[in-house]
């Protein structure tokens, strides 16, 4: 039982939380937020501004933050150059798109079926699996890079398409959020379907999936951010240039000062590539943000 202590409830009082409209008392928050938001936005604006700068503005002295004569030259340069190993940039982009799409679909399938089973079906290991997964929420993949490398090497996944996808599918946060979301679906709905003769798989497909769209959108975003932005897998597990990702290509542009990539053309290409890498994240999040917020309402973690 929750102890409410001294507090007892009476009529509803409209507190400052989630107000319906503007009120002068909110001014202080705007005064605090506006400069901070502007400051935080600067590097993001810089990605946009830099990508459209012609060479003389990229290297202007004193440097200018905003672009004056925007041009698409950096983008056309980006797609007309080959990487040092002779792979066209479009190939990296194609790899990244395919990997992101396949991973998102597979991740949704793997996590949502498991989440449904953990939330609504009864089986012996149910509690164990969920509590192990909850502990794994704090799993820091970067800490076990080396044993992971040894395992992936022994499984023969090096230089395969699957090494981009399979490790990303075990996502404890994704399973956790989906399970919490499915918990809220009333059991009566499922019981009714079961009485009508629906199997567990039919219930999953016909009832659960349509009801958990917001959580699925959230998983899709998290998976997308993890795979699309990742350069580590390409540099650790892939030796074939044709299987590497766009994020990896960008990392070669910034890392190799000695091979001449940081020359005049190199900087413009890197700026354009950085924008291409960032933009899909932003667009997808804007499109799905309301779904994400409704998923987060159920994100609570009980210690």
């Amino acid at each position: 039982m929750k102890k409410k202590g001294l507090f007892h409830y009476s009529a509803i009082y409209s507190s400052g939380i989630n107000p319906k409209g503007f009120h002068p008392s909110q001014l202080k928050f705007y005064i605090l937020l506006l400069p901070l938001a502007a400051l935080m936005l600067l590097p993001i604006i810089f990605i946009f501004s830099n990508a459209f700068k012609p060479p003389d503005e990229l290297f202007a002295f004193p440097p200018r933050f905003f672009v004056i004569n925007p041009t698409f030259k950096n983008f056309s340069d980006l797609f007309s150059t080959m990487s040092t190993s002779g792979i066209p940039v479009s190939r990296y982009l194609f790899n990244s798109i395919v990997i992101a799409l396949v991973t998102i679909l597979a991740s949704i399938l793997v996590s949502s079926t498991a989440a449904y089973a953990l939330s609504k079906l009864n089986f012996k290991l149910k509690k164990t699996i969920f509590s192990v997964n909850t502990v794994a929420l704090m799993f820091v993949p970067i800490a076990v890079t080396i044993p992971r490398f040894l395992i992936i090497n022994n499984l023969g996944l090096i230089d395969t398409f699957w090494v981009h996808i399979l490790p990303a599918l075990a996502m404890p946060v994704g399973l956790f959020l989906l399970k919490q979301f499915i918990d809220v679906i009333p059991n009566e709905v499922i019981e009714a379907a079961r009485i009508d003769g629906a199997s567990d798989f039919q219930i999953y497909r016909m009832i659960i999936l349509p009801l958990i769209r917001p959580a699925i959108a959230t998983i899709a975003i998290l998976t997308f951010q993890a795979t699309w932005n990742d350069a580590g897998i390409s540099s650790l597990y892939i030796n074939k240039e044709g299987l590497k990702t766009f994020a990896f290509y960008l990392s070669t542009l910034t890392a190799t000062t000695s091979t001449g990539a940081n020359t005049v053309a190199g900087q413009g290409i890197a700026a354009a590539a950085a924008l291409i890498l960032f933009l899909p994240n932003l667009i997808i999040f804007i499109l799905l943000q309301s779904q994400v917020m409704s998923t987060m309402s159920h994100s609570g973690l009980k210690g």
Binding site: Y9, V110, M138, P141, A143, F248, L277, M293, M296, S299
Partner: protein, 321 residues
């Protein structure tokens, strides 16, 4: 149909049949659940559980990736604690400093900003949430382009040019190569991108707090918004606070590569930005001392685990235990 079949069996060979129907019964009752959960469990075991286990095992061995690992007991741990000067002098203090500022700092910042956003109407709230969240959508590689330009070491760097213009500095500063600035920049950059999933969860939690509680508190003598936060808001959203804390913890340690990204070298200049994660990589992939690197990994995992327990103790709900 199926039941009538198995009943027929039962009449003929009751003994074997019992087991058979027991299995069928299990399959019917739990089979679909296990088949649904199995894909995730297998992937989890391979890519999360097994690496942790292997790290634990390897940490007791000497392993150079060519010969089979040789058991050497606690030697790696003893070396780490007594002979690894770089670890004791730079890596550990750096990691503690970085984690102590970025972890709680990013977490408190996330909560305060989420609280402020919750005081605004929906449209401005959504816009500000998007702006504050957008840094965590960026990737290390894309931002490396930006940071390297902004903090460039010559006079064409934005920060140098700005400070030279204001006459605050006389000479351009090698921001990313100077030991005294690298850590500060690493902390600022990581704080900048700390409003992630945990921030969104806490914002959602804040909006879900029952408004009646605030009214009740007002009657019971809560005087200001600060008391309201301490006595009402945080206790009523403990689960979200804990989720946010765990996410802050993970992103703090996951951000460990930032120093190498910014300075462009591992080890970082004079080990100024060297964190545990870089130390692992240094020993594992540059020196091929996998056993030793695994021991450092185990130390890191234990650190994360202890901090996680601390967060759980702080925010565990009353129905826990």
């Amino acid at each position: 149909m199926q039941t009538s079949l198995s009943q027929g069996f039962e009449l003929e060979v009751p003994k074997e049949n019992k087991r058979n129907s027991g299995f069928q019964h299990w399959l019917k009752k739990e089979g679909s659940a296990y088949s649904m959960v199995s894909m995730y469990v297998i992937l989890f075991l391979i890519f999360i559980a097994a690496p942790v286990l292997v790290a634990g095992l390897l940490s007791f061995t000497n392993f150079d990736t060519i010969q089979f690992p040789r058991f050497i007991g606690l030697k790696n741990y003893i070396t780490l604690l007594t002979q690894d000067d770089i670890f004791m002098k730079y890596v550990l203090p750096n990691t503690l400093q970085f984690a102590a500022i970025v972890g709680p700092g990013g977490y408190i910042l996330s909560f305060l900003l989420a609280w402020i956003l919750a005081q605004l109407p929906k449209l401005p709230r959504t816009i500000f949430a998007l702006i504050l969240y957008s840094p965590s959508m960026t990737s290390g590689v894309a931002m490396a382009v930006v940071w390297k330009t902004l903090f460039s070491g010559d006079q064409t760097g934005y920060l140098n040019s700005f400070l030279l213009g204001l006459n605050i500095i006389q000479e351009p500063i090698q921001w990313l190569q100077s030991p005294q600035y690298l850590m500060v920049i690493m902390i600022l950059v990581t704080l900048w991108s700390s409003m992630g999933v945990g921030f969104l969860a806490m914002l959602a939690g804040l909006l879900d707090v029952n408004p009646e509680l605030y009214e009740a508190a007002r009657i019971d003598g809560i005087k200001n918004r600060f008391q309201e936060i301490i006595y009402i808001t945080i206790p009523s959203m403990k689960p979200q606070m804990l989720f946010g804390a765990v996410m802050a913890l993970v992103s703090t340690f996951q951000a460990g590569a930032i120093g190498v990204v910014l300075s462009g070298s591992n080890p970082t200049p004079q080990y100024a930005g060297q964190l545990i994660v870089n130390h692992i990589e240094d020993y594992g992939f540059l020196r091929y001392e996998m056993g030793y690197a695994a021991a450092v990994s185990v130390v890191l995992l234990i650190m994360v685990l202890l901090l996680d327990r601390l967060a759980v103790n702080l925010f565990s709900s009353e129905d826990y235990l």
